[in-house]
Amino acid sequence: MGGPKMSAVEMRSIEEIEKSGQWWWWAEQKRSKRLDYLRKAVWKKGAKGSGYQPGVKVDLERPILYTQAFQANEHDPLIIRHAKALAHVWDNITIFIQDHAQIMGYLGSRPHTIVWHPEILFLLNEDLYNDRTVIPEPEERSLRIIREICDYWNPQTAGTKMFSKLPPEEIVKLMTGAIGWGLPIHRIGYCTKQWDYMFRLGFEGIIAEIDAKMAEAEERIYRRVPEPEDYEYYKKLDIWKAMKITLEAAVRWARRYSRLARIIAENFETDPQRKQELERIAETCWKVPARPPEHLWESLQFDHFVQILTRYEACDGAWPARPDYWHGPFYDKDVNQDKVLTKEEALDLTGEFLIRCYEVGWFWLMLARDTLQGITGTWVWTLGGVNEDGTDACNDMTDCLLEAARLVRVANPTFAFRYHPQVRMQTLRNVFECIRQGLGYPSMRNDPILIANAMHWHRHPLKEARRWVHQACMSPCPDTKWGCQPFRMANATIIAAKAMEYALFDGFDQVLQMQFGPHTGDASKFESFEELYQAWYTQIKWMMDTLTKVTGAGRYNSSELDPRPFLSAIYERCVDLGVDSAHPSERGNSWITFFAWMETGDSLAAVKKLVFDERKYTMAQLIEALRNNWEGYEEMRMDFVRAPKWGNDDDYVDQIHVRCHNDVAAHSWEIKDPTGNPWPPLPENIAAYVTNATKVWALPNGRRLGDTLYDGGCSPGAGLDKKGPTAVLRSVAKIDHIGAVRATLLNQRLNPTQLAGEKGFQIWHSYIKTWADLGIDHVQFNMVDNETLKAAQKEPEKYPELIVRIAGYSAHFIDLNKKTQDTIIARNVQSLGS
């Protein structure tokens, strides 16, 4: 038998590979043949650096079909046009079944395709027309089609319509990136899903509810003398009708997979085992999402269908999910009680479930690709946590997901683990194992703190707050009827360090060379620290105000300009009320993402110390040095670099940070979103600490224009934490993680040699217990040492699956640009011994 040729590495024992920490090799040896095939057959859809992987092409079937139907139904109300367009896509797009696959549903008509939604944004459409790497063959024909589609959609994309609602000067601010990250439109969504509703009723059950609603509405407006509030029903009938069109089409689409599986099984498949699998697939896809799931393979299939369906409708940049909570009961029933599924079979299904998520991709804006570095979206799945009654929610599905993640090692989705004191030990060890094996996830979330946080900011009742999932990377959102938020708030993003820049230059943007913020005075004449502080506070309040007005207007207008019939159909709230999902009737979950936040406190502390306390420099000297981007002031700059910095448990600087946090939080209550809720800050950075480096001018923390920004939300600057991880936690604990922030991101890198063996687990466990005691809401670990990273820089081909953390999610290290890689390496490895 001439099996595949084994390389030297492959021939080593599992134990040797484990000891050497080459976990990608380890996974390859450990996983089943099926998972190995599926993992290797997957097309990676994230953009590498700024471009897509070779061979990845844009799928033209979806835009052609969508546009055809949208044109054909011009006289229908907008929401119905969108519904019919979606139905036309689902009825006609090419479908396929991959060898060995058990979970169906694909975004695009072929395995190597990414979808393009031409109805979202004219900028995106033009990006595509000019991006020759992803145009399918024959290129000439494809370009002609793309041009036609662009010309049809550009005057009426969601973005075009939103721009028409905003004053031009606001648009300028949004386009610069200083304020706002993307546009507040519904088709770029972070949509929490309401699984209790879908799993309870199935789509047929929801359709029945819609029918009842429509009958009731018709009764009220056609058979009775309408009350004034009944006039709304004319509009609602359209919305319900559109919902129903999409739900019925979704069921038809799923059943196309059922038929295909049966055709293959009955006519082509020769392997009896695979034939059996295909028959089961046929039954499953006939049943879900039409009817409630009863087995793990059905619940996972239902879940995945819904995820793909919503992404046919629009770009969901986040993937809020709590798979152990919703699939756990099916796992328990099938594996533990009825024994109709073995553990190994469940592990295979779960591993494939992760791979199916990883392969989802769409054509996306150049600008956003840079910030997301190597992944399609920030897809953070929530694990662990508590049940509605406060008991530990960890179950065997939690463990199965953690184990599957180590076997398939995908960069997306990542996990975030809701830690609380009652987490069962076997699951905690499983979490640790993922971190130790260098996955970079799960990130740890402090459950009691975040439950209190959700109650504090958005008035969720205790039981619902306990049902929270990550709406995007960080923000907890209950997946309940009144908790589910369908809207992306990340548009509400500021580069917070710009407020410091504006305070020092009287509201003038040094990078853009134009007046941006309000006039707060000539900082070179400031005579006290307090004057500078108040100038900064005025600027940051102005940024928060400007931004949230735009986002609020976007949210409010979206249900009219940019309705999403399918997403609306899977929310109980929307079906009940007959509203589009963008209609602000849920309890709310707004936040403002603060990019580049911790530079502020470090800058203020340096000025306080060197200008106002020690009087070594004057404000005039400082402004002059900053105006020159520190050029010619190197000695002075080093003084500012050496001034006290966050992350060293030093109250001099830490208390300034605390004051900034508290003052920003106080202003959060003064501004309201369309649901009537405050706008709490959520500091984090994704990879924007690199992409924003050229957008922030020189700062008094010693930073020059172009220097990389701090990479977390409350993490110290790279290499600025000199006292190790415990001091970092002590600093971070000074922030009120319930009342001052919605959440804040902490990056910590730990050396894998410290965490080897049982002792390693015990130390990590002690660290996590203390982190929880200190009331910090988040921490994520990068377990890879510098030697590995440097080696990977030199020979990327040898480290294809090396995963590292960059704020909010993981990516493959070799996909990052050089500068990002360098920053990761520059971070302190918290090494031990002297």
Partner: protein, 315 residues
């Protein structure tokens, strides 16, 4: 004679130490040691006075230190091969230097650094105390090391007794080279002794550490008799004590200490400290010696475990 009273020179207070006693600890390094172990991996803790590090990789040869030195001990700016990393060139003539630290104050690139801060018990413990939440969750605490803490009997006594008063678990890392009276006075304030044993041969010990091992062995036996909790730490040094014979003798001796002996930590030799020697402008015999791996000391672990002694590699 060096100072031993209200203050001591501290080279480092290292938080999140996990290899110096149980749990998460803060390790305090005192400056000054009576031994002259040839392989020492904390060369900055040998001398009892403050010293100066010079790091070539950070030095920009700006000449500020040269201008600032009143003794003419600092070399003028010079072009250097960056790959040399301080192997062949030293910024400071240590013979002429009187450690006034003027050059350190003049350096803006942190290439010149003072090693050894004079600190009080209060100042040290205020820092140590900050990690009490971590100690509580891990059964960790303070580890006092050096240098050699027993070279400062009064200061060490004050520090350990105050730590106990503040409710902090204490480990004393010692060579044991001191009078029994000193150890005896510290006993009430030490939860665990981390006790270094290097070699049983008196002659060899004297040759490579500069002192006799007889008080060390006697003190250890007596601590064990008194029922103190002890973790013995054995550095494994190539060409010195890494033979089966040497290790066998150590194991034989340690077996007699049970049950006071909680465990033995085998510490394989490493040369990661070679930069510190360069920064101090000192030659080091072991620079070219390869670091030992876990596998290299596996035999010794087996010898110890064969005698029923709990053993770790690396603490």
């Amino acid at each position: 004679m060096h100072e031993d009273g209200e203050k001591a020179y501290v080279t480092n207070i290292q938080r999140f130490s996990i290899n110096d006693g149980p749990g998460i600890r803060t390790t305090v390094f005192l400056k000054g040691c009576a031994l002259q172990c040839a392989w020492c991996h904390n060369p900055e803790c040998i001398d009892f006075r403050p010293e100066i590090y010079w790091k070539q990789s950070l030095c920009r040869q700006c000449g500020r230190c040269f201008d600032a030195c009143p003794q003419g001990a600092v070399q003028p700016p010079v072009e250097l091969d960056p790959d040399d990393e301080g192997r062949h060139y030293h910024k400071i003539d240590r013979e002429k230097c009187d450690r006034c630290m003027k050059c350190v104050e003049a350096c803006i690139y942190e290439a010149l650094l003072r090693v050894g801060e004079r600190m009080t018990v209060e100042e040290i413990l205020d820092e140590v105390e900050r990690d009490i939440p971590f100690y509580n969750n891990s059964e960790g605490g303070l580890t006092l090391t050096g240098g050699e803490p027993t070279s400062f009997p009064r200061f060490t006594l004050a520090l350990l007794s105050e730590a106990k008063r503040r409710g902090i678990h204490t480990c004393l890392d010692t060579s044991g080279f001191c009078s029994w009276e000193v150890l005896d006075s510290l006993r009430p304030y030490v939860d665990i002794f981390l006790y270094d044993i290097k070699c049983l041969s008196g002659k060899l010990h004297l040759l490579r550490t500069g002192v006799s091992n007889s008080p060390i062995l006697a003190n250890l036996a007596r601590l064990a008799c008194e029922g103190e909790s002890i973790i013995v730490r054995v550095p494994v040094i190539p060409g010195f004590n890494d033979s089966t014979e040497q290790m066998g003798r150590i194991a034989e001796f340690l077996e007699t200490l049970k049950p006071a002996l909680l465990q033995v930590d085998i510490l394989p030799f490493h040369n990661w400290c070679q930069d510190k020697y360069r920064w101090l402008g000192r030659e080091w015999d072991y620079e070219e010696t390869e670091s030992l791996s876990e596998y290299d000391v596996e035999d010794f672990r087996e010898i110890l475990e064969g005698r029923g002694i709990k053993t770790t590699i690396g603490g």
